[in-house]
């Protein structure tokens, strides 16, 4: 039983790390602001939730898990809101999306 939980948490931690790295590589490599915002959402949702799930499996049922759940709820509320406000402000500002209709 213990081994199963360890394996599960290991898998979710690894998957979360991979998503984290992928998201931040996208943050560097993508060409304009809005696509970078898109890449960041991978970090904020998938990477974050997977790593936190791994930690929760490790912690078991305790106060730590409650705090972790609180953090996850907090991030899930704030991070899309911040991204939304950011995109809106950028669109109001001078940044225009890099549109490519020709398909290159």
């Amino acid at each position: 039983m213990n081994i199963i939980i360890d394996l599960l948490s290991w898998a979710s931690l690894m998957a979360g790390s991979i998503f984290l790295i992928i998201g931040t590589i996208g943050l560097i490599r993508f060409p304009d602001f809005f696509t970078r915002l898109h890449a960041c959402s991978v970090v904020d949702t998938l990477g974050f939730i997977l790593i936190m799930m791994g930690l929760m499996l490790q912690a078991g049922l305790s106060l730590v898990t409650v705090k972790l759940i609180l953090i996850v709820i907090f991030i899930l509320l704030t991070s899309p809101t911040a991204a939304h406000a950011l995109a809106k402000a950028a669109l109001h500002g001078e940044v225009k999306p890099l549109l490519n209709h020709s398909g290159e």
Binding site: F74, L77, T78, T81, H84, A85, K88
Partner: protein
């Protein structure tokens, strides 16, 4: 920020959580990390978030400027008052052992009151500074 509907709704959800968390930090400072100073800052940041999203005039109608001034002085006075009450009960200045029948609970009460004073002063001064700095 009239048209930021998402922000307003999320802020309405978040601000009570932040205030509860600040109270937790304030009174849990004996057991975990935290204490008066940090709790005061978190408290102030809740008010700052409110005034960012709903406008500083509304924030000032929630918590008026005179109240902030009174609170900031009240925190320091609470601190001093604990010290002087220790004097009255027959100990040294800021010696909490005499505040209750046994020294340990006396220390507990003293530390709790003092952290409360620190938190009040810090929260009031931070909010006041923000109001003054970013007046429209």
């Amino acid at each position: 920020m009239e048209h930021h509907l998402v922000l307003r709704v999320v802020a309405k959800l978040l601000i009570p959580m932040i205030l509860i968390f600040a109270l937790y930090v304030q009174f849990h400072g004996d057991y975990g990390p935290g204490g008066g100073f940090q709790a005061g800052v978190i408290f102030a940041s809740a008010f700052i978030l409110y005034s960012l999203i709903f406008g500083i005039e509304n924030a000032r109608s929630v918590i008026s400027f005179n109240l902030l001034r009174i609170l900031s002085a009240l925190g320091l006075l609470l601190y001093l008052g604990v010290g002087i009450s220790a004097l009255i009960f027959g100990g040294n200045f800021l010696d909490y052992n005499v505040l209750a029948s046994n020294p340990l609970s006396g220390q507990h009460i003293g530390i709790l009151l003092i952290e409360l004073g620190v938190g009040l002063t810090v929260a009031a001064v931070m909010t006041m500074t923000f109001f003054v700095f970013s007046r429209p």
